[in-house]
Amino acid sequence: MEAATERVKTSAGTGGHNRLPALANAVVHALFVIYSIVCIVPIFLIVSVSFSDEKSVVNNGYRFIPEKFNLAAYKFLYKDIGQIAYSYGVSIAVTVIGTALSVIIIALYAYPISRPNFPHAKFFTFFAFFTMLFSGGLVPWYLVYVQMLDLKNTLASLIIPLLMSAFWVLVTRTFFKETVPAAVLESAKIDGAGELRIFFGIVIPLSMPVIATVALFQTLTYWNDWFLSLVFITDNHNISVQYLLYKMLANIQFLSSNPTAAAEIAKAGGMFNFPSETVRMALVIVGVGPIIFAYPFFQKYFIRGLTVGAVKG
């Protein structure tokens, strides 16, 4: 057996298992390099347009390399910094409050149903799981938030609907079950610790990987959400970054609802000098910036998180 392993090692030149031939290896690398470019190129195009001169874009279309480098779009956005800063504020507030509450609520729900001696564990597991199987649809859901709770146009309407997630409850429950030894919990109980103290003092510190995973996914969900804005936000307050982008693609003038910018446009003779094409793309860069910078860091934990707990009902 030992000799055989040895033979594999020398013939394949690697520890674990056999290697690809050099040519095949090069082809596979080439494939991934090309695909990686396919992933980045669309963003590169947007970046390039945002740094271009408006006239050259209007005449020659979007190019990968700016024909005339120009910061006019960003200067224009800077003039209208009020709306952008406000939208950033909305997005950050929704994301931070939403994620923090969400993680606490999900963990609090997952803990009791992870305890085998809790007689109603099965019932409450099913109570959450069933929401993954059946939904009442958009109309009644909308009416609950708008008619019953009267949350239209509020920040709460951008937070509450995404707080609870049956999927993450089940993932967290599985993690608690598998990671926190029952014996530790029992001995803590015998020592007289209350359930709340056991939860915050033992369970949570042992479960940081799953807590971090839920937090990361919820952060992304809240930051990227525009559907709740589309449905619940009808006035011009509480416009998140994503929703601002949505409104901009449909209507460039939305940004210039700000009086200073509007005056600027009027002074320049209506829409004539308004760099609408490049401003639009500059706003995408401003909107997507935090994600692009945070994601290489995020992604490491994401990958770990994806394998954290299997969901079985």
């Binding site: 055989a4 033979r7 594999v8 394949a12 690697t14 674990g16 298992h17 290697r19 290896n25 596979v28 991934f32 695909y35 990686s36 396919v38 992933c39 669309p42 195009l45 874009v57 279309g61 979007y62 190019r63 990968f64 999900i106 609090l108 729900y109 009791p112 305890r115 001696n117 809790f118 007689p119 109603h120 099965k122 109570f127 199987l133 059946f134 939904s135 009442g136 649809g137 109309v139 009644p140 859901w141 909308y142 609950v144 008619q147 509450i160 209350g194 939860f199 992304l220 525009w226 449905v231 949505y246 693609l249 639009r280 909107g287 997507v288 992604q299 994401f302 990958i303 079985k312 009902g313």
Partner: protein, 328 residues
């Protein structure tokens, strides 16, 4: 599924006074003993009730002619009139067809291409490059469909898009009015969907492949098995459980379209509706743009019920073949 067996209640009784009591009393002692657990569950339960269970009761709207003046409960019942109206309109066929065909294509593509990528990625022995590819491939997953709609617009805009402005003229082709040309979207949308999900699915499959014991491959190499043979007789069979679960999860949701993809990316171009309208966008538009509550909730309920049946059906199929791979 409340626990009905005596075994389920046993630990609670042991925790209580220890006497044998009628069931009703023992429920009281459960509540007394586990009050902290119920308190912990409370916020989550409240949210599930608001967000999921009250709307479930709201499905009665689909059988009513809603009049907000007198309230939903007092509005007159109309039986199946909303459903009849829905299925008589040509829209119903289009939205069901589009939803099913697109999702079928997505399921197939999300299984095959990321699986192939994961297998190839696993063969690369350069850890640094392999990680770099993974990181870059994951980027589109982090972008919202609003941002993606801009990226697509950058290429496909009629006036200034890269395709019409640079690429097509360079190839000597006429510009195409992409947002008015139906034929291209059944190809464009699956490409975008695959592009967005590639990193996610590749990582899931790669994690499963890495989990396979190296000894299988060592033994196969000793027996002279080629790479293809190893993939076909070791990797794929051992990935069957994860492939089954991933596919099952998606088949259960085959009636639910990705709203963002179909709503944002085609930029609500009416000309494209025959190839981009799906159940979810139809429900949204009939309700919030047209304001037809009855029709919209009928379509929504139809979607929920069929989806519910599909989850159970696909789970039942899997359970028949291999109960370990079933979801529940």
């Amino acid at each position: 599924m409340p626990p009905t067996s005596m075994e389920a209640l046993a630990p609670a009784r042991a925790g209580g006074s220890g006497e044998i009591k009628p069931r009703k009393r023992s429920l009281g002692s459960i509540l007394r003993h586990y009050w902290m657990f119920y308190l912990m569950l409370l916020p989550g339960v409240a949210l599930l009730v608001i967000n999921n269970y009250i709307p479930m009761a709201g499905i009665i709207i689909a059988f009513k002619n809603v009049n907000y003046e007198i309230g939903i409960l007092n509005s007159p019942w109309v039986g199946l009139a909303n459903f009849k109206y829905l299925f008589r309109s040509p829209d119903s066929y289009i939205i069901i067809r589009n939803t099913l065909l697109y999702n079928s294509a997505f399921i197939l593509l999300n299984m095959t291409i990321p699986l192939a990528f994961a297998i190839l990625l696993n063969e690369l022995k350069n850890r640094f490059l392999s990680k770099t590819y993974q990181t870059i491939m994951f980027l589109p997953y982090f972008l919202s469909y609003i941002v993606i709609s801009y990226l697509v617009f950058g290429f496909m805009s009629d006036e200034h898009g890269y395709l019409n402005g640079t690429l097509l003229p360079a190839l000597g082709l006429e510009p195409v009015r992409w947002y008015f040309t139906q034929e291209v979207w059944p190809i464009v949308l699956p490409i975008i969907n695959t592009w967005k999900g590639m990193g996610y699915y590749t990582v899931i499959y790669l994690a499963a492949i890495i989990g396979i014991d190296d000894e299988y491959y060592e033994a196969a190499t000793i027996d002279g098995a080629s790479k293809w043979q190893q993939i076909a007789s070791i990797t794929i069979p051992l990935l069957k459980p994860i492939l089954t679960i991933m596919t099952l999860l998606q088949i259960g949701r085959i009636f639910n379209a990705d709203f963002g993809l179909f709503f944002q990316v085609p930029r609500e171009s009416g000309v494209l509706f025959p190839v981009t309208n799906v159940i979810d966008t139809y429900v949204y538009r009939t309700f919030l743009s047209v304001g037809d509550v009855g029709l919209s909730s009928a379509a929504g309920l139809f979607q929920s019920v069929v989806g519910f049946i599909l989850v159970f059906f696909s789970n039942w199929v899997v359970r028949r073949f291999n109960s370990e791979n079933a979801l529940f």
